[in-house]
Assembly symmetry: C2
Homo-oligomer: 344 residues x 2
Amino acid sequence: MSKDLPAANKSRRRSDQITLSQVAQAAGVSPITASRALNHPDKVSDSTRQSVLESVERLGYVPNLVAGSLASSRSRLIAVIVPSLINSVFVEVIKGLQETLEAQGYQILLGNTDYDLDREYQLVRTFLGWSCSALVTAGLRHNDACHTLLANCGHPIMEVMELGNGIDLNVGLDHVAAGRCMASHLVDRGYQRMVYVGARLSHDYRAGMRYEGHKAVLKAKGLEAPLLELDTLGSLQAGAESLAQVLQDYPATQAIHFANDDLAAGALLAAQRQGLTVPGDIAIAGFNGLPLGQHITPKLTTILSPREDMGRLAAQELIRRLSGKSVYRRQHDVSFTLQVGEST
Amino acid sequence: MSKDLPAANKSRRRSDQITLSQVAQAAGVSPITASRALNHPDKVSDSTRQSVLESVERLGYVPNLVAGSLASSRSRLIAVIVPSLINSVFVEVIKGLQETLEAQGYQILLGNTDYDLDREYQLVRTFLGWSCSALVTAGLRHNDACHTLLANCGHPIMEVMELGNGIDLNVGLDHVAAGRCMASHLVDRGYQRMVYVGARLSHDYRAGMRYEGHKAVLKAKGLEAPLLELDTLGSLQAGAESLAQVLQDYPATQAIHFANDDLAAGALLAAQRQGLTVPGDIAIAGFNGLPLGQHITPKLTTILSPREDMGRLAAQELIRRLSGKSVYRRQHDVSFTLQVGEST
DNA sequence: AGAAGTAATGGTAGCGCTATCATGACAGCG
DNA sequence: CGCTGTCATGATAGCGCTACCATTACTTCT
């Protein structure tokens, strides 16, 4: 009769979701005990836990993680910030991260910077607002504000992809060394005149680091190391077009060292269409070790980077850190493998 | 001297983050006015807004979105649940979603079911716990519990990829029609004996729907429609292997209709290696319209599906819905295009 | 002139959960 | 027998923010 008393009707609940208090009431315990039954099962008696779980099931209770996070300031969210989703490399890292993190009950908050460091800063701010348990960024380069924020936010930071002097944790590989590795291979094969082809090296600065390695090797041998930088994203199409460009700008070229397999495969397939033999007329090398390279003829010489493993390892180290265990190593070199095909 | 009074020290704050109250105090306004200055800028005077923003900047305030979401029960998080990240198709849809949603200030919570409907249910539960503004799922198939939860949770639901009788909003294409389209093309080309090759059709049931379309066309012409179902994920490698299998099991086959371009391209490249001419010895057709298909020789006949557009359109419709505008259409057919190459 | 609206601001009281401390019951100890 | 320790549970009081209602100072309208 006296329900909905105006004075008592101060509730602001907008959803009529079941709350933990209702579950607790149904189970005949206090809300805090119900909370413990769900989050610290070993801290309540077996019988209590049973009856709480039974009530959860019966009422269809869905925990409000927002409220839980606010109260505990722990969210089990992990922010993952990548510069691109078009480039399958980042997707494979995400895959490795996700597989491992989801298994441990973490969720991924995904951010895409489109290679814009200011955008990255904004994303970091937003994600910090969600009290993420940790942040993962692709790469070691940030703008100053972002770097400061990351360094001082108090959450674990994992920087993946490249190896170097990171803010906190770091899993990656040495891109300069990878560039050196491939250049050495090409020199060993006897090529003297070669061009490095990359796409937007200011964005894909890791490809730029590989060029540095490439250049160092060639200079040491007294060879020129011309660079062709494309203004498009790396793609099969861009690779095909760059082949023509290289043959025009550097007609005597014997080998092309591409910044990635998409470009390399595009060029290789284009060479085939034009009746050029690879590596007879022109040798072609890539980077990444995409499956495609091993299915085209001739098989592509490339450098295999363990992308999913990188994600998995990063996730494992983060989990170790989050569970309070001492970190095995702050830095992990996942290394790379030269995969000699038939295209060089 | 008298700081840290035991009686006053009830605070449970673990982080020493700046709060909105501190910003408000610094700006000489009440917390609620500061809140409005940030979230409803048009509801405060220009001078107030200026001084609040100035304090935000000076103190380095990062809004606690968890607290905001709890208070307002709006999170600006959008859950995106896909069955796989290996399959680039889903990544492209995510890309389209993200591009559009991030621009509107929404963040993506990413979930991967690995084609497991129970896992999907768990993810939906978790994401509902985050009071997501909306949920996007790839596909119309869910288990009963999941379907009930989605239908009753009160949030907008967007089901993408395929067209059909959805829970709420739906953007996709008709996969049965796509299968019919390609089969008709092959029949028109004069092929009589053809095999449909798919990978794990119980998982990739949309490929199964395309097979249904394929079969219907062939049956209508009085032709057999044998199916080869692989037990691996679709990949170049699987495509290459399936070619041998088809030639062994169905030696008289004239054409192979593959469930996707990865398989088709793998088979096409394998055929080349084996000295088979395409389409002379064997015709090959795919689905998706991946760039790779247009770079191999002969160019692959395939069906182009607008994956990024699908994501963008889905995001736009969701935003329209979330901003309270009436929805233009609950269902959108993004359609597909037959792309005739040289492989058929 | 008085009613009625609008714009800018603030006080209060939650959102649903969990950290913290307190309580009572019972075991083990010299 | 009192003392300390562990276990299971509960009462209280926030976490940081915003919805809701109230207040004040002005406009505008009939």
